[in-house]
C-alpha cells in the first residue's frame, strides 16, 4: 500500500509539475526576462564583460523550466505520498480526500507561504552570489522551523480539543503557530540585497507569480492525489450506484 501511494504521488506530482510549468511560463517568465534585462543594463552601465552563456535563454525558459518544475513536482508528489501513507487515519476523522487536502494545505502554508514572509522568492539579479551559502542555509532553516511549528500547532490543537472544544483548540493552535514563526523571523537575520534601481513592479509580480506556481503545485497535488487515493483506499460501491432511499 505504501508503494502504491508513493507511485501515485509521483504520477500526480508529474501532472502538478506540468501545470506549474504552464503557470510559470505564462506568469513567471516575463518577469524573469525583465530582471535579466535589468541585469544586462547594469552590466552595460559598468562596462562589465557579459559572462559566457552556458545555457541559452531559449533553453532555460522552456526545457530547463519544464525539467525543473516537473522534477520538483514528481519529487514533492512522492514525498507527499509517503507522508500521506503515515497521516491517513492519524489526522482525525478525515477520509481519503480530506486527508490529502489537509496535507497539501499544510505543505503550502509551511513550505511556501510562511517561509515566503521572511525569505521571499527573488528574480535573477536580486541576490548577491557571494552570499548564496548563507541564504541557502537560512532558507531551509526557515522551512524546517515552519514545518515543525505547524506540526506542533496540530498537536496543541489535538491535546486541547477535549477540554476547550474545536473552535478554541484551533484558535490556540493558530496562535502557537504564529507566535513560533514570528519569534523565528525576529531571530533569523534578514536578507536585503535588492540592487538600487531594480524595478519594484517586476519584483512584486515575480513574487506573486512564484506564489502562484507553488499554489498550483500544491493545489493539484492536494485535489488530484485525494481523488486517486480515494479510489485506492475507499472504493465505495454506493458512490457509483443510485442514491439509496431517495423518493422516486
Amino acid at each position: 500500500m505504501v508503494r502504491s501511494l508513493l507511485i501515485r504521488g509521483m504520477l500526480v506530482g508529474l501532472g502538478a509539475g506540468l501545470l506549474a510549468f504552464a503557470f510559470a511560463y505564462v506568469f513567471g517568465e516575463p518577469q524573469v526576462q525583465h530582471a535579466i534585462d535589468f541585469e544586462d543594463h547594469l552590466a552595460a552601465l559598468h562596462h562589465d564583460a557579459m559572462g559566457p552563456e552556458v545555457v541559452s535563454r531559449g533553453v532555460q525558459r522552456t526545457f530547463g523550466l519544464l525539467t525543473g518544475t516537473v522534477a520538483t513536482g514528481v519529487a514533492l508528489g512522492g514525498l507527499f505520498g509517503l507522508v500521506y501513507a503515515y497521516a491517513y487515519g492519524r489526522v482525525g476523522a478525515l477520509g481519503a480526500r480530506g486527508t490529502s487536502a489537509l496535507l497539501a494545505a499544510g505543505a503550502f502554508v509551511s513550505i511556501t507561504l510562511l517561509p515566503f514572509t521572511k525569505y521571499p522568492a527573488n528574480p535573477p539579479t536580486v541576490g548577491n552570489p557571494d552570499t548564496i551559502d548563507k541564504r541557502t542555509v537560512l532558507f531551509f532553516a526557515m522551512i524546517a522551523v515552519t514545518i515543525l511549528a505547524l506540526v506542533a500547532a496540530g498537536r496543541v490543537r489535538r491535546s486541547l480539543l477535549p477540554s476547550l472544544g474545536g473552535w478554541n483548540a484551533a484558535s490556540a493552535a493558530g496562535s502557537v503557530l504564529i507566535a513560533v514563526v514570528a519569534v523565528a523571523e525576529l531571530i533569523l537575520p534578514g536578507v536585503h540585497e535588492t540592487p538600487a534601481g531594480f524595478p519594484a513592479d517586476v519584483l512584486y509580480r515575480f513574487r506573486i507569480a512564484s506564489l502562484g506556481i507553488n499554489a498550483t503545485l500544491w493545489l493539484t497535488l492536494g485535489l488530484g492525489f485525494g481523488a486517486v487515493a480515494q479510489r485506492l483506499l475507499e472504493p465505495a460501491p454506493h458512490r457509483t450506484g443510485a442514491p439509496a432511499a431517495s423518493p422516486a
Binding site: 500500500m1 505504501v2 508503494r3 508513493l6 510559470a24 513567471g28 524573469v32 545555457v55 533553453v59 532555460q60 526545457f63 530547463g64 523550466l65 525539467t67 525543473g68 518544475t69 522534477a71 520538483t72 514528481v74 519529487a75 514533492l76 512522492g78 514525498l79 509517503l82 501513507a85 503515515y86 491517513y88 487515519g89 492519524r90 489526522v91 482525525g92 476523522a93 478525515l94 477520509g95 481519503a96 480530506g98 511556501t112 525569505y119 521571499p120 522568492a121 527573488n122 528574480p123 535573477p124 541576490g127 548577491n128 552570489p129 548564496i132 541564504r135 541557502t136 537560512l138 532558507f139 515575480f206 507569480a209 512564484s210 506556481i213 507553488n214 483506499l233 475507499e234 465505495a236 454506493h238
Partner: protein
C-alpha cells in the same frame, strides 16, 4: 462534515494503512532519492556542488528562481 465516508461512523477516523515500521524503508530510501532530486533543482552548483561546472545550475535556473529557491 459527517458524511465524508458512509462506511465509517460519523466522526470516527479510518484505520491507518501503514505502521511506522512498514513506512521506514520507504521513508529512508524513497525519501532520500526524492530529496536528491529537489537538491539538484534547488541548490546544486549553488551553496554546494556535486558536479563540477555550472551546467545543472544554468539548465534549471529559471525553475530555481521561480520556485523560490535562493539563487543570484
Amino acid at each position: 462534515m459527517s458524511d465524508v465516508a458512509l462506511e465509517r461512523k460519523a466522526g470516527a477516523a479510518p484505520a491507518p494503512i501503514a505502521s511506522p515500521r512498514e513506512l521506514l524503508p520507504y521513508a529512508l530510501f524513497g525519501g532520500l532519492v526524492l530529496m536528491i532530486i529537489i537538491y539538484f533543482v534547488g541548490a546544486e552548483e549553488g551553496a554546494l556542488s556535486v558536479i563540477s561546472g555550472t551546467d545543472v545550475h544554468e539548465f534549471v535556473h529559471d525553475a530555481r528562481h521561480l520556485l523560490g529557491f535562493p539563487c543570484h
